[in-house]
Amino acid sequence: MQAIILFGILAATYLMVIAKRGPALIRAFRYQSFCLFALTFIIALREHQIDLYIISGLLFALKVCLIPYLLYRIISRIKANEGLGLFVNAQLSLLWALVFTYLAWIFTTRLIAPGNTAQASMLAIAFFVVLAGIFLMIFRMTALAQVVGLLVMENGLFLLASTVSGGMPFFVEIAIFFDVFISVIIMGFFVYRINKFFTHIDVNKLSRLKG
């Protein structure tokens, strides 16, 4: 079961890398978050820990429902072009993503050297998700894609934390969730501002401050 969910996370991440338009990107992000939720929930069922139930509940409420809803709202409200502004086209992006997957695998097996292969594959996927997030932030031009990239990186870290140390201490995990949620709200606020002043959200064209 776990392997299928992990595969789902991997597939959702590939979907994000090849997405050309905002709504597609957010939908894929929702799939990814849902897989993470399912993973945590299964672990919670197995270990019967109240902490894990709460964390998976929060994951569902915030990352599957609320944050994608907010992102959709931003897209519809700013009425900007829905395209993400790809620096690298979809095919090439997919190629990059495959390279990242391989690099993440090498990194985990050589450097972290975990005990068993199940844990190794989970770690590798976590690192790959983080790398994919960085890729989205660098090679997509709109402010919205950067916000999603950041969220993807955070998802990768959540997976990493639950793999290596069985999650962070409970209240830290909760604090991080709210932190991420607040940062999405604040970034959304600034996306509106950028759209208002520049009439676009193309961060590549924000180049007034130099030197």
């Binding site: 932030m137 950041l150 990493l160 069985g166 830290v172 932190d179 030197g211």
Partner: protein
């Protein structure tokens, strides 16, 4: 007990800021609140240093000498900023740059920002440390984009995105540290600092090394260490005048504090050499890059921002040299840079609000137009570039002496070379700006009393404390000696 006082006052004031309608009255209440915090932090520092032990409350708040010292630095600068804000915000509202309502929001955000910074050195848990530092970014982003124009929104966006990515790397590092901890302890789940440091010797060396690189890149972004510094000049130049001082004076230092916390674990677990080499490498890169940009800079506030990168580089080299003397120099430098740079940013804010421009080539005759600010800036410039008898000279000379005595001649030479070039550049830029004739159509401007008081408060710290600390150096040397294992 003082810590609850220190954390509570900013929260209360942030609420009061929204309720009290009279701006001047609130400004004075605000400043007196921060004066109380300053006294509380001095009492706290004394208590912790004298008792020589750490205090922990409910395993959530943890205070040792290092954190008490950082709280003291934050309290000093935030008091000066609260004092300076009274005059600055009043002038802005009078001139119609911001509305009365916006001024109240300013005070509310200012207090929340200070609260989040006081929170950073007082938490016990390294995960909460991450949350606290992310909180400082989120709150101060509003203060960077406060004036709500194209430039400030752009600066705020770059600030929030670059720092958030950086801090995600720091979270990755934190997770790897907790992994190393759970391997060493046999499956325990804790990020509390005393637990971590107690087991540091048993942790896996390779994991610690990888994790520390992520920590250094992550928190280094927030600290403004060089190749990750790109947000810093934008944010510092666009933020509200008094806030630039807080950003440069103490926000960067809270990130340095986080690096030190993890650095101490690494020095116990993976050897001192590894930590030292990385810190020195980033320090030298920061110095080199800031040196080039200071030479060719045209914008006054950006010049000061690059100078912050330079000083963060010096601090990082100080900790990297690893001897107690150098660590003491670096600690002193944290304080000295905080007060000196605040003074410089306050005077820059005064100049910008009178001349309405940032470009140094277009500003002439500051001493004639703003006599008090001009003279303070001249003295502050000498202090900032490491001229005796000011305090930065003392901390820099401590670092350089320990580099020479430790046999790191190359590092000492590089440090001296960059400092000399930066000194020249400062004299060149500021000489043109401060002296010269009054521009046509400009009259001598009266400066507000609260602004002058803030300048004097900082100036006393720059002159006197640099000398006094030299004679009471025993306590600080004690902190520095206990900081790193030998």
């Amino acid at each position: 007990m003082q810590i609850f006082f220190i954390l509570g006052i900013p929260l209360l004031l942030s609420l009061a800021a929204l309720l009290i309608k009279k701006q001047k009255l609130f400004g004075i209440i605000n400043a007196s609140g921060y004066l109380a915090i300053l006294f509380a932090s001095i009492v706290l520092l004394k208590q912790v240093v004298l008792s020589g032990s750490a205090n922990a409350y409910l395993s959530f708040i943890y205070l040792d000498t290092l954190s008490a010292f950082f709280i003291f630095v934050i309290a000093t600068v935030s008091f000066a900023t609260a004092l300076y804000s009274i005059g600055y915000i009043r002038k802005d509202t009078r001139e119609g740059v911001i509305s009365e309502r916006k001024a109240r929001i300013y005070y509310c955000l200012f207090n929340l920002f200070c609260f989040s910074m006081f929170f950073v050195p007082s938490v016990n848990n390294l995960g909460m440390l991450w949350v606290a530092i992310e909180m400082t970014t989120l709150i101060s982003a509003f203060l960077v984009g406060f004036y709500n124009n194209k430039k400030s929104v752009e600066a705020a966006w770059k600030y929030i995105i670059i720092c958030s990515v950086g801090i995600i790397f720091a979270l990755l590092g934190t997770i790897l540290f907790s992994y190393a901890f759970s391997l060493a302890s046999g499956g325990m789940k804790s990020l509390n600092w005393p637990d971590m440091v107690a087991l540091a010797g048993k942790m896996d060396k390779n994991i610690l090394k990888i994790a520390f690189i992520f920590i250094l890149v992550g928190y280094g972004t927030k600290a403004g260490l060089a190749p990750m510094h790109t947000w810093l000049p934008d944010a510092h130049s666009q933020a509200v005048g008094p806030i630039s001082a807080l950003l440069s004076g103490v926000l960067l230092k809270t990130a340095i504090y986080a690096i030190l916390r993890f650095g101490i674990i690494v020095t116990h677990g993976a050897g001192v050499q590894y930590f030292n080499n990385l810190m020195i490498l980033f320090g030298i890169i920061s110095l080199a890059i800031s040196c080039v940009f200071i030479l060719v800079q045209k914008d006054l506030k950006r010049l000061l921002a690059y100078s912050s990168i330079e000083h963060i580089g010096i601090i990082s080299i100080g900790f990297g040299l690893g001897t107690p003397l150098a660590a003491m120099g670096a600690l002193l430098h944290i304080f000295n840079h905080a007060v000196t740079k605040s003074l410089m940013f306050f005077s820059a804010a005064n100049i910008v609000s009178v001349y309405k421009k940032h470009n140094m080539n277009a500003i002439r005759g500051v001493i004639k137009a703003l006599p008090f600010t001009g003279i303070m800036m001249l003295l502050g410039m000498f202090a900032l570039t490491g001229f005796p008898p000011f305090s930065i000279f003392i901390s820099e000379i401590l670092i350089i002496i320990s580099a020479f005595t430790g046999g790191s001649y190359l590092i000492a030479a590089a440090l001296l070379l960059f400092l000399a070039v930066i000194f020249g550049a400062f004299i060149y830029h500021f000489g043109k700006m401060l002296f010269g004739n009054l521009p046509k159509g400009m009259t001598v401007t009266r400066e507000s009393l609260s602004g002058k008081l803030a300048f004097l408060f900082l100036f006393v710290q720059i002159c006197a404390l640099g000398v006094i600390l030299l004679f009471t150096k025993k306590d600080l040397l004690c902190i520095a000696q206990n900081l790193f294992p030998r």
